[in-house]
Subunit: 261 residues, 2 copies
């Protein structure tokens, strides 16, 4: 199975992209809703949560992992790769960096992410491998609760998005990466508030494409992955969580509550 995890339900935006491109595969999803969000937490805590999530998915049969959380992808990947050295581990940053590097016309890339992701400096490090890029990174922590409240098109959200876009406008970025699983839900609002020349990169899509490509190139692994039903697990389950998950996936789903202890 392909196992995906996130700090909460945000990673369902990644699951959705993966399911769209690879509908035949059985997906295993874990959202750590009992400890969500991760974005303001320390690298140590985020890495230890990420490792617990990976362990849960591997124990349930995952043979390919997708770290569907930008924050864990930024600060927790090493711990997972060390724990599972022979496991293919995908993350939502590497594919997004590759897309950004390719589409950026003037090498001025903006990254909107969580506080922990921005503090990690990972986009600067990874883009440097591709060439000289001027990277403007801005934490946008308020967008997560706004999205979770469903305030996708409220005037208050528009004002706050405008506030967070200011440094990107000042830096005249030509590419903007939405480096938090919640932000793509605000993509229409964000896109309408920056220049049409700015390419907006959604890591979920980039990750699904990278995974699809890898499975094509690795048919022996792909053939061992089970097909059929997917299962969605959360560490805490509330009516609000179910409502969000259903509205994002636009279909009826069953969330099962599990404990990581």
């Amino acid at each position: 199975m392909i196992g995906l995890f996130d700090s909460g339900v945000g990673g369902l935006t990644v699951l959705k992209e993966v399911a769209k491109r690879l509908p035949e595969y059985s997906l295993l999803y874990l959202g750590d809703t009992a400890r969500t969000p991760y974005g303001n937490k320390s690298p140590q805590v985020v890495a230890s949560y990420g490792l617990q999530a990976a362990r849960f998915l591997v124990e349930r049969g995952a043979r390919v992992l997708v770290v569907a959380c930008n924050t864990v992808s930024a600060v927790g990947l090493e711990a997972i790769e060390q724990a599972y050295p022979s496991m293919p581990v995908f993350n939502v940053i590497t594919p997004a960096v590759e897309v950004a590097a390719r589409v950026s016309s003037h090498h001025r890339v903006g990254v909107m992410g969580t506080r922990a992701l921005v503090a990690s400096g990972i986009y600067q490090r990874l883009l440097a491998v591709h060439g000289r890029y001027q990277v403007t990174a801005q934490a946008a922590p308020l967008l997560v609760p706004l999205v979770e409240e469903g305030w996708l098109d409220k005037p208050e959200t528009k004002r706050i998005v405008k506030h967070y876009l200011t440094p990107f406008k000042q830096a005249q970025v030509d590419t903007l990466v939405l480096a938090c699983t919640h932000y793509p839900l605000l993509k229409p609002l964000i896109a309408s508030r920056i220049s049409r020349r700015v390419r907006v990169v959604d890591p979920a899509e980039a990750t699904a494409i990278a995974l699809e490509k890898w499975l094509t190139q690795n048919p022996e692994t792909a053939s061992t992955l089970s097909k059929g039903e997917s299962r969605l697990y959360v560490t805490d389950l509330t009516p609000h969580t179910e409502t969000i998950a259903r509205s994002w996936l636009k279909r009826t789903i069953t969330l099962e509550r599990v404990s990581l202890d």
Copy 2:
């Protein structure tokens, strides 16, 4: 020692009130910053986190507990009282209910709290003991991140506060309880946006007064409580957490990181 805990640093607003009234006592504080916030989580998860926090404080020497979290006070008190039947356990709701019942001129009380607190219906149940009250409860989840970002006086915050105040205005409440430890930091902004006739109740102050009174009435317990230095523990420590804690307490403090596992 007097042990206080909250889901994060919000409970420091309660600690501050307690320290102001009872400066001689040594306080032990725990903020569960590794799993914050609790407000959108399920009663089961919140209750289990509350119990873990209580256990930590008791193991470190607390002989009186103050549940400085409105959400745990709403859904997790029973578990703590059952685990520690002979321990005096204070919470931030009972004292606030008593104040609200007393000051409410027309028995129309508003309660602004977390989603979990509002769903619990605790204010309705406890106010009913005091008489017939019309209770308007409204969850205001976005105020927590706004306060944590330090957006205390931004136009965006004003608009969102206005949004959350609407049902209270419509119900013509005469009393408004700020039933989340973060909200009192927005008290000036809230007070300036509702009628001057509305009494705004801060549970932190009510709780500190109740604790002070109890210690006066129970000198034998009070005399056993240690005096002197206080200690502040958090389950995760980031520069942002330290900045918030310092700005709220308006002094230099030391936060120690601990694990509840």
